[in-house]
Symmetry: C2
Subunit: 208 residues, 2 copies
């Protein structure tokens, strides 16, 4: 990589991170980034492909520390399995909250609403692995999705900024929920009967 290219690459990343943090997840255009970074628009697109790629690159850099943390947690066999799941969720919560505008921007990338990138997928797989050790019988894949849905940046931002819930309260709620899910009671009631009796009166969707 040429020297000027490396310099521009770093400048663009730093500028984008700053603009997103200052102006929110939608408060910047590609022109803004280019101008503020002191480069031409073409340079930004040459480096990162499109807006999507730029946001991903910034997130990727910012979340590097957390990824290492979660990787270490996977290998920490001395810690009880349940505690590892809870800690995984807690650290991810903290990470998302610390970079709310940035992660929100990631979730709003044009192509898909929910992140389909490698990092998100890796996070999910790791959580599945951890949950499986606690509840080998349960639907770990779904449970991981359910817990991760609680940690979506737009969800957390909504709770904190629109609804006015305090961050500690939300954090406690998320962790309690994770705990409940992990310690679920296997004596399942007849959920099917309760539910289908009322909901299938109109349309019976989802049974193709």
């Amino acid at each position: 990589m040429r020297k000027d290219a490396a310099r521009n690459h770093a400048a663009i990343l730093a500028t984008a991170a700053r603009l997103i943090a200052e102006r929110g997840p939608d408060g910047f255009s590609m022109d803004d980034v280019a101008t503020a970074a002191g480069v031409g628009k073409g340079t930004v697109f040459r480096r990162f492909g499109d807006r999507d790629g730029l946001v991903r690159a910034v997130v990727d850099e910012t979340s590097r520390a957390w990824r290492a943390q979660s990787e270490a947690l996977l290998a920490a066999d001395d810690v009880p399995a349940t505690e590892r799941v809870i800690t995984f969720v807690a650290t991810l919560f903290d990470h998302v909250m610390a970079a709310l505008p940035l992660v929100t921007a990631l979730e709003r990338v044009s192509t898909r609403s929910i992140a389909c990138d490698e990092n998100s997928d890796l996070t999910h797989r790791r959580l599945v692995a951890l949950i499986t050790r606690v509840r080998p019988g349960g639907d770990a894949e779904f449970l991981a999705h359910a817990l991760l849905a609680q940690l979506r940046a737009d969800v957390l931002g909504h709770l904190v900024h629109q609804c006015g819930l305090s961050v500690p309260r939300v954090r406690a709620g998320v962790l309690s929920l994770a705990w409940d899910v992990l310690s679920r009671d296997p004596r399942r009631v007849d959920l099917d009967r309760v539910v289908t009796s009322t909901s299938t009166r109109s349309g019976t969707p989802g049974d193709d």
Copy 2:
């Protein structure tokens, strides 16, 4: 309301609903709707204010049946409280799944990522009321948010279309989770100790 205005109003709503269903939550422009409905662009904006308003109007009409259903559920004092919550969640799930592209479009309205409209708020308040009867001591407001987060259209669409989970599987997962949350065990472990000991090592966010 003048006759032609009423006719155009209905035509625009129907056309928008059709386009969203056919082409997905982002597959239509305001010009598209106007042209397909046989009216001028100005007419669409005069009626609905902006893109946001148009999508909301379509959703509002489509969800009318479900709103009545949920209202009846609130008043059904003969049904056990827990069953009412589960049924509430189940019918909302069915409603969202039946109109996935439309609800997804609603969630992507420009102003805010998470719906802040009157309907969403009403749904949340009703769910809070129902949950409070089951768990008077718990954080009903947060729990309602947590359950509703599972029913976000983009979340459900991701699980079904990207991850390939079947609709019944997701439905069962969501209802099980609701059940678990409602029947949570009040004997709380020392969650705080477990969590803060590991996660606060880096940054201690959220304790202002």
